[in-house]
Symmetry: D2
Subunit: 346 residues, 4 copies
């Protein structure tokens, strides 16, 4: 029996018990396929409601995973000669095996600031691009991809998002937000779903890492991607049993479960961070999210590994190694306590 405490990542457990219960409760019902069932329709309404937008303003689509959602959404917004701006550390630039390029588009890179892009650098990039007379020979930026929280545990403030949104509108490019860990991002920032629905042209509400067995909910401004269902289908992104996603998101957006999941993950992260500080471990980057980064003396790291699993972050150094600890809705306070009680002082 595995006694280890797992901080490797936030997709190690199945679904939140309430979500699994909803799947079980509806399991034998027979419903129409391809997302035309009542659960899916209801889930879409609940999400629009949480976003403070009407069906006339926005539309919701359920997809299966993050890479797929990014590829389908971004692909649906760009013409063939256009590309998407992103931080050079962005998931679409590094860890999606070229999904954007498979769709024929270039990822145009900006400097990463803990995974965030800087609004002034975005603006300058675009200005410099069009100041170069040869720009028609180059891939033209038509969307900006950001993550919230980022792969490195950073979050955007509302003011920063407003600034990015304004620049994108000024420059005529789409603002797309990857919310794979959005529950934790919402809990950690002053940004709400309502803000996102108004500031972004498209964004997705992560399910896989935030309580669902699998699934992501894409929210787009109405009509910006005509034929979107067919584009999903063409990408193999339409589930025959679409209600598997609908049932889950319906539950996640009932009784504030999605927010609760975010808060719990954060509470666990803060508990861990505080405990580690007491033990003398150095926090890196002071992440406000469910991903916490620490610098561990090499002499201690093996001992820690016997208590818990976690990921090494980057190449190990001579004296110390940087590691990532991730909490989630599935993290028990008892496990954090146990870990902190067993961990040696730094």
């Amino acid at each position: 029996m595995d006694k280890k405490i797992h901080f490797d990542t936030d997709y190690m457990a199945g679904a939140h018990p309430a979500v699994m219960e909803a799947l079980c409760a509806t399991n034998l019902e027979e419903t129409p396929g391809y997302g035309e069932d009542s659960y899916t329709l209801e889930a879409k309404k609940l999400i629009l409601q949480a976003c403070g937008v009407s069906e006339a303003e926005s539309e919701v689509h359920f997809l299966i995973g993050g890479t797929q959602t990014n590829a389908v959404a971004i692909g649906s917004l760009l013409r063939s000669h256009q590309g998407v701006l992103a931080a050079d550390t962005a998931h679409i630039n590094v860890h999606e095996a070229g999904a954007i390029e498979l769709g024929g588009h270039k990822v145009l890179t900006l400097p990463s600031h803990s995974g965030k892009v800087d609004a002034r650098e975005v603006e300058k990039w675009i200005d410099d691009f069009y100041a170069d007379d040869t720009w028609p020979h180059m891939v033209q930026p038509a969307a900006l991809y950001i993550t919230h929280p980022t792969e490195l545990g950073a979050i955007y403030s509302l003011a920063e998002l407003e600034c990015l949104s304004r620049i994108c509108r000024d420059k005529g490019i789409y603002l797309y937000l990857d919310g794979a860990r959005l529950a934790y991002g919402l809990a950690a920032s002053d940004v709400s779903l309502k803000d996102l629905a108004h500031l972004c042209d498209a964004f997705y509400i992560g399910g896989t890492k935030c309580g669902a067995l699998l699934g992501e909910a894409l929210v787009m401004r109405k009509g910006i991607a005509p034929g979107f269902f067919s584009i999903m289908k063409q990408h193999g992104a339409v589930l025959a049993k679409g209600r598997v996603l609908g049932v889950q998101f319906r539950r996640l957006f009932t009784d504030g479960l999605y927010e609760e999941i975010g808060r719990h993950g954060l509470t666990m992260a803060n508990k861990l961070k505080e405990g580690m500080a007491v033990l003398g471990y150095e926090s890196i980057g002071d992440s406000p999210t469910n991903q916490q980064f620490f610098r561990i003396p090499n002499a201690i790291i093996e001992k820690l590994r016997q208590i818990a699993s976690f990921e090494v972050w980057g190449a190990p150094g001579k004296e110390t190694t940087d590691v990532r600890f991730v909490t989630s809705w599935a993290t028990c306070p008892e496990d954090v306590d146990r870990f902190l009680s067993l961990a040696p002082k730094a």
Copy 2:
């Protein structure tokens, strides 16, 4: 409450109860992601075992749906200027919104015989192709796509598959079999998984329509598609919680559940077909599978619709309309009896 009996299709219910139970039983366990968990590894072994092949001969990959599996598998086998042969009614040619073309490949069409291709027509097509001196200007066939059972309820005999396999090997093209409804196809034919593993270069064992919540198991000859994991990832076809697929297929291939599901679906189909014959309805095509086709007098069709739901197949005629009734693991004998007792005579 919905009293209607549903014969629309075989993906209307959730997962087979035993599969759902396995998902629930493992739900809170924390496992590594991306299919590296023990459930997935075990499921792969069980499938290889059922196919009578070793890890040195074949490999198993779990994907999410049929369109995705077809696009990823076929795309991984073709070079850019190559295409895939298929019946003109084939799912990849009609109902996948151009997923094969999105990957850059042409579907080269053959006449459909209830969804099947004829071995001699395949051979002649290829011979004629290379007899035309301009063939280097044309898309070259590098794979043959077949379905078993077909979209129209037909099955291949073992002798037919052997013949197709021999022709494909002679001509140097891959044989790929779409097994979206394979459980029912296995139950209805003299073809076994062991046969498929030896006769096909790649085929998939359908989960979505055969007891799983979602998921398909692709079996490929070892090494024919180098970098296949990355190709899956590039198509957004790798689940973070890969074990969701592993747990399900592990259960489906334990205690003969997959075969049982196939047999049950067929038993229900035969029960329905016999009852309809007694009532005087004309069966079309005499399908041996879980899809049954009937010609219904237009005067009666509305009465039938009040009892059960089903799909109209093709354009309605003046006097009669063709319809499709589909059974599955989820079809109850009581429901079939109830339907037959309520249905008017033809």
Copy 3:
């Protein structure tokens, strides 16, 4: 020294002498690249003038060959899930090695009538398509591709083109015309460039087969393909020395040379056809264009081959073989006379 008379095809010689002279006369001039030179700009104006449209209505782009022009133009007009309707014998469906599919699009096929499509069949195809409830799962037609003259030597009448144009506008799809052999098509039909510019959304004026060394002139309704220069560049379809195309088309559209080329090719074709009739050869299809098809007794074909080269069309029959003879601007009346005087009676 080659004494044979060549009727194989219309791209066997280099450029029309007047075109080559224009290339030589400007050869050492130094001009800006990428089509920004004065020759190219002037050629565009001459073409717009010949088409009877203003710069506000239409735009002209020069590309290098037919396959490239089709792929770039059609690709620029379709969204990813859309396809292009074409006769099943169409060049884009058969002889472009999957160029349209490389761009991610499906060719949707219609019956061929000597390479032409029938307006009522187009209309019915689209109506049937949308009458099928599953159409969002299928590739949606967004353009109709036609050739004039066709690969099989047929031409559209003005009335036929008007009908196709009206249907396309009614149905909301683009009408695209491949004019690889347009000079001969214009000479053989009652259709003018002005008609094409008003009836088609895009069409190309073939250069390669009609007097140019290489090059095609694409005429599009203004603004229907934003970013078209970049899309050309992305397809490798922008010549550094763009003026090579501009100089040629400027000459072709000066002093009625393009029309003259078309007329000469037709005059030679008619001379040949009449002579063959006198000799007793059967004409197939009664082509009005520069492609003539004959049915040759097998006993005679070798003798003909010693006099002239031509293409066998389709598989040879037991008694007779169908062949194609092609004339062009480069065909000399003396050669046709010599061929007819040497050819045996049928």
Copy 4:
């Protein structure tokens, strides 16, 4: 009449007079299409001979332009999930409007050293890549793209190329060299065509910038890209009148014309560079090729512009502006003299 002297770029004039003469001399001959004519076959032999390789070792293909050649060649060598390494300033990464991405592949960037890549950095990049356990989630490098000379006027020494070649072979990736300006690169370096044919898996001999009207000659190791003709065709890269390229390259590789062109371009560049030094202008980067870069005081630049045309390189500075002067086979010594006599002192 334009009295200005043009140093803007090396593709402003048409073809070298001897090349144009060859086109004219063969213009009215009728030859088979698609590169099956005797001129093309002979040109291929001459190139193989110049490269010191046999038909069993290498193959030659003629394409139309640089962007097209890069896209077709690189596309033919990569599987879908693979990418190509290149300096971040590389033409394929900046100035081809996403042609590589249109083919589905990512450009993986390395630091640029005047457009060159550093062998140790290449090696380290690949080692670091595979040291990261998540590499199967990332685009895998399968080819290295280099230019010789680079877009910035730098050249590789033979020793450097040998080192890059060794690393590529060790790591199992292809080495591909873009020789858009190869004539000038060969003249400026100790690297011969024979060296390239042995060190590279594929490279192209630039025609467009080195004496041809248009056209590039791709040399590949035999058999590394099966179906290459069809792949070219699919990209619209096969000329119907293929002999237009064959005739030109046959002439370029007769009587040492290609070398002579390279030497002349360099002689003119050196003459210019020396004259500019005498006038007190600062040379940037000390380019040994036909591209020369100078830093011009802003007070003088307008005067220079009245004498000659040239390109501003990068954003102008406060006091000085960097500019590029390009010579070619078409540059006359008299024009260089005239320019130097008219140019003011720096």
